[in-house]
Symmetry: C2
């Protein structure tokens, strides 16, 4: 029995330091209405969808910084954010969206930077419940705490403003998003009786750089995830501060960044037998920072099913059947039969690289 889902990524063009919250909200609402005309049941918006990607900037004023953050507890009531959730409810569309989560207690976490104000967060809103049913805080924060001294550098100060996510990779069920129930079976075993509730899809959220880290994908895979959602802001080109990169034109660098993005989404979807959807904030932000597009939907076989054609506001849409996850889950990637956890110890006991001893 198919478990079809009409799925959309709402890619956004640039949002600038000078963009007002009202302007940006109007664009989000327009994208949601466009997705609705296609029949979308679930729409993913990008990382930090409400503002420019401010971690590029060294912002020292707490007041200024607070403009880029929102509190998770007031998302459904604040005039800055409520209109999007209200429209999602009205259109009966589940949404997931990324934002900078204000939580000063995060400063007490493992990062010492005095400007840590919270987390790089995404939430999942169930239109049927009228509630936020899941929250994810970005685990893999890229970049540095301190800005580069090189004036040509593109800063990435996520480690300065955010604490690493402390909620883990917690898969969750999207209530009544898909109505039909799942027939279990496989391995030639006769199909078991239908189980009420099995049809609620198992989802997982990640944010931007997380998609490059196999650990998050695998933690979700071990919870039977059927669809991974990932919003992002990814620079197409940055000066080579490490001096280790082959020379590239900005165009070549952008092509390579899109290739890497898709390689991660495709490869990890295949190796965890799940669909994925990714939504970019794209284009030239603040006249200087060129972000890649490439928002896409990938299948459990690792194929790209739909892909953005622009670097602006654009809906990427596909109708998927979550049952397509079963082929991988029950055969090649049947974790219970094939994984050998006694050999994986390094992954959870050692953070960085320890090279084999030098030879004499």
């Amino acid at each position: 029995m198919p478990r079809t889902l009409k799925l959309a990524a709402a890619q956004m063009g640039p949002v600038h330091l000078t963009s007002t919250r009202t302007e940006t909200m109007d664009r989000l609402l327009t994208l949601l209405r466009q997705a609705s005309t296609l029949g979308a049941q679930l729409v993913l918006f990008p990382e930090t969808a409400l503002t420019t990607f401010f971690p590029r900037h060294l912002i020292t004023s707490p007041d200024e910084l607070s403009n880029y953050f929102d509190s998770a507890s007031t998302l459904l009531t604040s005039p800055n954010t409520a209109p999007l959730f209200n429209l999602a409810k009205e259109l009966n569309i589940d949404i997931s969206i990324g934002f900078a989560e204000w939580d000063e207690s995060a400063a007490a976490g493992s990062v010492a930077g005095a400007n840590v104000k919270g987390y790089n967060t995404s939430v999942y809103y169930s239109a049927r419940k009228g509630e936020i049913v899941a929250k994810y805080r970005k685990v893999h924060l890229p970049g540095t705490v301190e800005p580069f001294s090189n004036p040509d550098a593109v800063n990435q100060l996520e480690k300065r403003y955010f604490a690493p996510g402390n909620l883990g990779f917690q898969a969750f069920r999207a209530p009544d998003l898909v109505k039909s129930v799942l027939k279990k079976g496989g391995h030639g075993v006769e199909a078991k009786e239908d189980v009420k509730g099995k049809g609620d899809p198992i989802l997982g959220m990640m944010i931007c750089n997380d998609r490059r880290w196999v650990e998050g994908w695998r933690c979700y895979g071990l919870q039977g995830v059927e669809l991974v959602l990932c919003g992002y802001n990814t620079a197409g080109f940055a000066p080579d501060l490490w001096g280790t990169r082959k020379p590239m034109t900005p165009e070549e660098a952008e092509t390579d960044a899109v290739f890497h993005h898709k390689l991660c989404m495709q490869g990890n979807s295949y190796m965890n037998s799940c669909f994925s959807v990714s939504a970019a904030k794209a284009g030239m932000e603040d006249g200087k920072y060129d972000l890649i597009g490439g928002s896409c939907i990938t299948s459990p076989e690792g194929h790209v099913l739909a892909e953005a054609k622009t670097k602006g506001d654009e809906i990427v849409f596909a109708e998927i059947d979550l049952e397509d996850c079963r082929q991988g889950m029950e055969k090649t990637f049947d974790f219970g039969r094939h994984r050998r956890i006694e050999q994986y110890g390094l992954i959870t006991t050692q953070t960085g690289v320890v090279e084999p001893e030098l030879l004499g």
Copy 2:
């Protein structure tokens, strides 16, 4: 300072049940000589390169089964295997080759099948040392212990004949394979003094199905691996015993299998900042089992640098610079700065899938 390595995959066409060891050895020697004319310093041969891929067959006679196995301790002296290592020594080429390793004590391991005779193994032979300097035993054994009842099935009885590898993913140094030394540095830090011996490349071996499992790659990545070697025998098409696969022609299935192979090699190379080389046994074995080609060399940026054009005996060659690993290792994938092992617990504590609770 570049650390260049002339690297080859020796793809093999089919080896049949009726092929003699002498015939197969002659082909291996020819491939090694061809690689030598290109200047190769390291040649990778496929999984079970010495025989047909016998785990497709239910073989009940211990005597018959023993024909497909070799003892690791006699590789350099047995007339069945010594000629290859002797020629490698003569040509000053390091080689890595897969074979079924006879070790009856493996039956005492965690697999109950009475026919377990050993391991699916590969070794690394250093021509400069004249010794086997590393051994790997395949961890992720695909397939089943018992054959399928369906006569159309393509059996994959690796779990019957082999115990899961018990040597872990142990990276190792290839003695004097690359002469120059590595200048450490990066992150804008001034380059440290050259360190004697740093230039010996860090390698890791995996076998066939292992390449689909991110855990092995990451264990190697955590040891600073610069090159992963992977021999394989991969069916292009098999009947859909699970009833979960979309209908495909054999041609479509083969295209998809090659796509998945390359996706794993490219994605995992990128996400671990290492090169990889893979060598297939390809073509129609025993008139019935059609194996994919697709032997390739991939870069730390996830690009395919060289790729087989045939499904027969063929050398795939590239000259690589191991210093190209540094870009990823020191920036995007600087594990020590970015990994968050406190969030990865499921990977080593839970083998199979545990789904989130059903919603009421």
